[in-house]
Amino acid sequence: MIGTALTLTGDLEAESAIPWIVHRGLLLNLDGWVRRRGAGEIEIALAGPEPLVAAMEAACSLGPADILVEHITRQAHDFDHAPGRFRHLS
């Protein structure tokens, strides 16, 4: 199924980043996952109603106090199978 991929770049090293994003994904009842791709990059894959995906993007562009998102890009994401409840993919 086709979902949405968000890629965050910036000053994202703080440990708070991933739990904060997981909390937001669950708060918005989205399916998908988040994973760290490096010290300055976090990847999020989402499935859900467009206004909630947009709300996820808005919230994550701000994030917890100790990170700073410089850029956020959005593209389609092809899930191999049903993504399931939003979680941290380690």
Partner: protein, 281 residues
């Protein structure tokens, strides 16, 4: 709390009406008492120990900065267009963070509920997608391509119209709205808000307008804007927490709140945290 960034911005501390009437204004800025005196053309701003701060008259208001190396005062080009009517609307004190006052100015989704019958009306509540960006070349936040159904967009409006909006934030406590001008569709009306931070949790908002409207009496223009701003005041005094959270963990911004989100991100990036909550709230 940090005043480090904030000290080097310019702030309104009085308006031209007060000095023209010969008033000596005792006020505060960033928690420090200030006195504003003199005439509109030669204003004097002094601190409690008598130190003179730089002072200048711009956009019908007296501006000062307590910093050693202030950034330039934001330029509003329309102030030079002499066929506009310039309307300083007076200062209104609000028990809220100066940043919350700016954030509310940038918000459109509240129009049907807070400015009922003027700037919005149910069932016209939907906020269509719009564009928000930080313009790196000028270091400003811009929100564009905003449209909203308004029963009475301006004093000069004779019927409900689909109003176009653009917002510009050139400094953390200065915001400018460019809005459809009902009698002159090819031009924008300009409505700005200059926020004087008295403290982190208290401010004076000074609305100012530069309009094309040759028909409406001046006092009606002032009161139209005052009516709108005062409708927001009780909202601003009842938002929790009082300071503007830079971490929205306890909030649920959606797409219609994107200007707020980008404004907060811009503040966070600059370290402009006077009036902001920097811990999770």
């Amino acid at each position: 709390m940090s005043t480090e960034y904030a000290r080097n911005d310019w702030y309104v501390v009085a308006d031209v009406n007060q000095l023209a009437a010969g008033q000596v204004v005792e006020t505060r800025l960033l928690g420090q008492p200030l006195r504003v005196s003199g005439s509109p053309d030669a204003p004097l701003v002094t601190t409690a120990d008598g130190t003179a701060l730089p002072a200048q008259l711009r956009y019908d208001h007296i501006w000062t900065s307590p910093g050693a190396d202030p950034r330039p005062l934001p330029d509003i080009a329309e102030a030079a267009e002499r066929d506009r009517t310039f309307v300083p609307c007076g200062g209104v004190r609000v028990r809220c963070s100066p940043l919350r006052a700016v954030e509310n100015f940038l918000d459109i989704a509240h129009f049907p509920f807070v400015h009922t019958g003027i700037l919005g009306e149910e069932p016209h509540t939907e906020v269509a997608p719009y564009k928000v960006e930080i313009r790196e070349d000028v270091d400003e936040v811009w929100a564009t391509q905003i449209g909203f159904h308004q029963p009475q967009a301006a004093k000069s409006a004779t019927e409900a119209i689909e109003t176009r909006y653009e917002y510009r934030v050139p400094a953390p406590t200065t915001a400018v709205l460019y809005k459809t001008c009902p009698p002159k569709p090819e031009a924008w009306d300009v409505i700005a808000i200059f926020v004087q931070p008295l403290a982190e949790n208290e401010c004076i908002a000074w609305p100012w307008m530069a309009l094309y409207d040759e028909v409406t009496p001046y006092a009606d223009l002032v009161q139209f804007q005052q009516e709108i701003f005062l409708q927001d005041r009780s909202i601003l005094e009842n938002q929790k927490p009082t300071l503007l959270p830079l971490d929205p963990r306890l909030e649920i911004p959606t797409r219609c709140d994107l200007t707020s989100v980008v404004y907060r991100r811009w503040l966070k990036r600059k370290g402009a945290t006077y009036g902001a909550l920097t811990t999770a709230a």
